[in-house]
Amino acid sequence: MQPPKTLLDFIPFFLGGIPVTLEITFVAMAVAIPVAVVLALGRMSRHAVLRWPAGFVIEFFRGSSALVQLFWAFYVLPLFGITLPPLLCGVLVLGLNEGSYMSEVVRAGLEAVPKGQREAGVALGLPARYRLFRIILPQALPLMVPPFGNELITMLKFTALVSLVTIQDLSFRASLIGSTLGESGPIFGLTIVVYFVLALILGGGMRLLERWVARRAGRQLAQAAGAGPLARAPSSIPAWAVGAGG
C-alpha cells in the first residue's frame, strides 16, 4: 500500500503551472500592446468613423467584468458557431480587456511627443504612415515602458482568471491539488507566494528593460526619468505632524 500523498508530492505538478502562467501573461500582453496602440490612435483620430468604434471597444471591455467576458467567450460564443480553444479564448479576452485599459497609457505617451515633431513631418511632406511608424511611435514607445511594466504585473495577476475556463495554469493546479488533498489552505498560501515572486521577477526584468531602452533612446528619456517612479518626491508632511499624540 502506498503512503497517503502529501503536498510535497504535488509540488512538481504545481510548479509546472509557472511556464503556463508566464506564457499566457506574455502572449496576452503581446495581444494587448497592439490593441492598445490601435485603440489609442483610433481614439485620437480626426475621423469620427475611427473615433467612435475605438471608444466603443474601450468602453465595452472596461465597462463589464473581465470574468463575465471570459465566461461569455467560453460559453456563449460557441453557440454562435465560434468555438475557440480555451487558451486562445483566455488570451484574447485578457489581451483585449487589458489593451483597453492600456490605451490610456498609450494615448498619454503619444500626447507626450512634442507637437512640432508631427508638424515637422508634415512640413517635410512625409506620408502619414511614415510619420507614425518612424517619428511618433519611436519617441512615444520608450515613454510607455515604465507604465507597461506595471501593466505586465497586472496581467500576471489577471491570468489567474483563465484557470476558471479549464486552462492548467498555477491557479488551476492549486485548486486541483487542494481538492485532491482535501485541504486547500496551504497550497493557496504557496500559490500567493509564487505569484508574488513572479511579480517581483517580472518587475525587476522590466526595470532592466527600462534602463536599456533609456540608454538606447538617450536624450528624450533622460528628461522623462526625472518624473519616473524611481525619483521619489520628498514627503510634504512636516515632522511635527507625525510625532506622538497625533
Binding site: F60, S64, V76, L79, T159, E183, F188, I192, S236, I237
Partner: protein, 221 residues
Amino acid sequence: MSGFHWDWGFAWSIVPELLEGVVVTVIATVLGSLLAFALGLVWTFVRIAQLRVITPAVWFLVQFIRGTPLLIQLYFLFYVLPTWGITVSGLATGIIALGLFFSAYTAEIYRAGIEDLPAGQWEAALTLGLPVHRVWLGIILPQAIRAVLPVLGNVVISMFKQTALLSTITVLELLAHGMSIGQMTYRFVEPLTLVGAIYFAVSYLSARAIRSLETKDEIRA
C-alpha cells in the same frame, strides 16, 4: 451552427432572479468599499507615523496584497479562515478579501491626496497653534479625502466589477445566478449576456456620474 436564437420571453423571465444577484453584488461592493476605505486609512497612518518594524511590515503586506491575484486571495481566505476558527459565510469572506485587496490601493490614494496638499496648509495650522489631532482631523484629512473622492469612486467601480470573482467561493451574486440559470436551462446566451449588460450599465453610468462630479468640482474650485 447550433440553431442559436435570442428568446426575449426567456430573457425577461430570468430578470427577477438576476436582480436578486444584483442585490448581493451591491451589498458586497458597498461593504467591501467601506472596509477598503477604512483599512486604507489605517495603512496610510501607519506609513506616515514611520514606526519601527510595524511600518515596514505593514507596507510589505500592502505590496504583497497588491502584487498577487485577488482570485487566489479569495480562495486562500475561503479555505484558511475556517481553520483559524473564523467561520463566516462566503459573502463575508468575499467582503473581507475585497476590502483587503482594495485597501492596498486606497492607501496609495490617500497618501497622494495628503502629500499633494499645499505646504501652506501645514504652515497655517502650525501658526494657529492647533493641536496635532485637530490639524489632521479638521484640516488635512477633509481636504485630502475630498480631493481624492473621484479616484475613490473609481475604486468602487473596479470593486463592483471584481465582485464577479465571488461566484467562485459559492456567493450567489450576479454572475453566479447567471451561470446557475445557464446550467439549469442549458441556455447560456440570455443569462450571460444580460449579466454582462447589467455590469456594463451600472459601471458605465457610475463612471459617467463620477466624471461629471469631477468636472463640476473643478468648476466650483
